[in-house]
């Protein structure tokens, strides 16, 4: 075993342990802020895996977008809705957790079994290594041109939509009649909506 190879194996093992432990922490930790920071760690460990797979561009994108944008966004979400909540206990919750854990374990067993029993067509064509970034660029402007262009529409629409939903409108009127309205569904609620704005302050 060469030094490079054993380094690679050790790196993979460490990264996998970080990813799995982080994932379990995200799901189980009581404090959601810890979960969010763990999520950042998991994203970075996954970027490390991509480096092991000779994909430096995707690793950089993973760090920039997942850690730099998504994780920060999630932290923002936590800070903005930061209210200590003591969730009401619900009957049968424990049972539900155990049953769903069983279902997930079954799914996991199935997935791993399929992963292991399938004869993957190894070895494939040799890796192009550091040329990967160039190759991705070529793909984006040839056979993946359509999704690439559509992704720009998706991002534009997501940006506009997010702004519309998140901004506060000061005064709202019906453009047709000039009456003041409340940006709710036209169909009035049949049951009281339980909106207690006073407790938020």
């Amino acid at each position: 075993m060469t030094i490079a190879a054993s380094t690679e194996l050790i790196c993979f093992l460490i990264l996998s342990v970080v990813i799995i432990a982080g994932g379990i922490g995200i799901v189980f930790l009581e404090n959601i802020v810890y979960s969010a920071f763990l999520l950042g760690g998991v994203f970075m460990a996954i970027a490390g895996l991509y480096l092991l797979l000779n994909a430096s561009f995707v690793a950089a994108a993973q760090i920039l977008v997942y850690v730099g944008a998504v994780n920060v966004l999630i932290l923002f979400a936590i800070m903005l809705v930061n209210k200590r909540e003591d969730p009401k206990p619900i009957k049968g919750l424990q049972l539900r957790k155990i049953i769903s854990a069983g279902v997930c374990a079954g799914l996991l067993a199935l997935l791993i079994r399929v992963d292991l029993t399938t004869p993957w067509s190894l070895p494939g064509p040799t890796s192009i290594g550091e040329l990967a970034t160039e190759r991705i660029g070529e793909h984006l402007f040839t056979d993946y041109l359509l999704p690439f262009e559509l992704a720009s529409v998706l991002l534009l629409m997501a940006m506009i939509g997010a702004i519309v939903l998140a901004r506060r409108d000061v005064l709202i009127t019906d453009v047709g009649t000039g009456k003041e309205v409340n940006q709710g569904l036209i169909e009035k609620a049949t049951s009281p909506l339980l909106i207690d704005k006073n407790s938020s302050s």
Binding site: A5, I26, N54, G124, I128, A151, A158
Partner: protein
């Protein structure tokens, strides 16, 4: 970083890692009571898929690396989804002053 062909770690190791992460994500999706944590679980599931795609790309499609391009697209969409998710979360928090999934039950019959 490692230009040598990847031989030491078998493809199956990556796939099993992805399966594990995916199942953790599924469990979190079903059982989290905080809406933000549900969003995080979905991100875990998407990352599991990305590991799968990257591993296939390196081991089976090393010449054309379509999997890497697919991963870039998934990352893009995940970012858009997270932004939209945050906006929706904010608007529901303004209306209901809670992010507990169990209390979102206005729409039941």
């Amino acid at each position: 970083m490692f230009n040598s062909p990847i031989e030491q770690v078998p493809l199956q190791a990556y796939l099993i890692l992805a399966s594990l992460l995916f199942c953790i994500g599924v469990w979190g999706l079903i059982n989290s009571r905080n809406a933000v944590r549900v969003l995080m679980s979905i991100e875990l599931m998407l990352n599991a898929v990305n590991i799968n795609l990257m591993a296939f790309s390196a081991y089976l499609d090393g010449e054309l690396i379509r999997g890497q391009v697919f991963t870039v697209f998934v990352i893009t969409v995940a970012a858009a989804e997270a932004a939209v998710g945050l906006a929706i979360l904010l608007s529901i928090y303004r209306n209901r002053v809670t992010v507990d999934m169990e209390s979102f039950n206005l729409l039941r019959w």
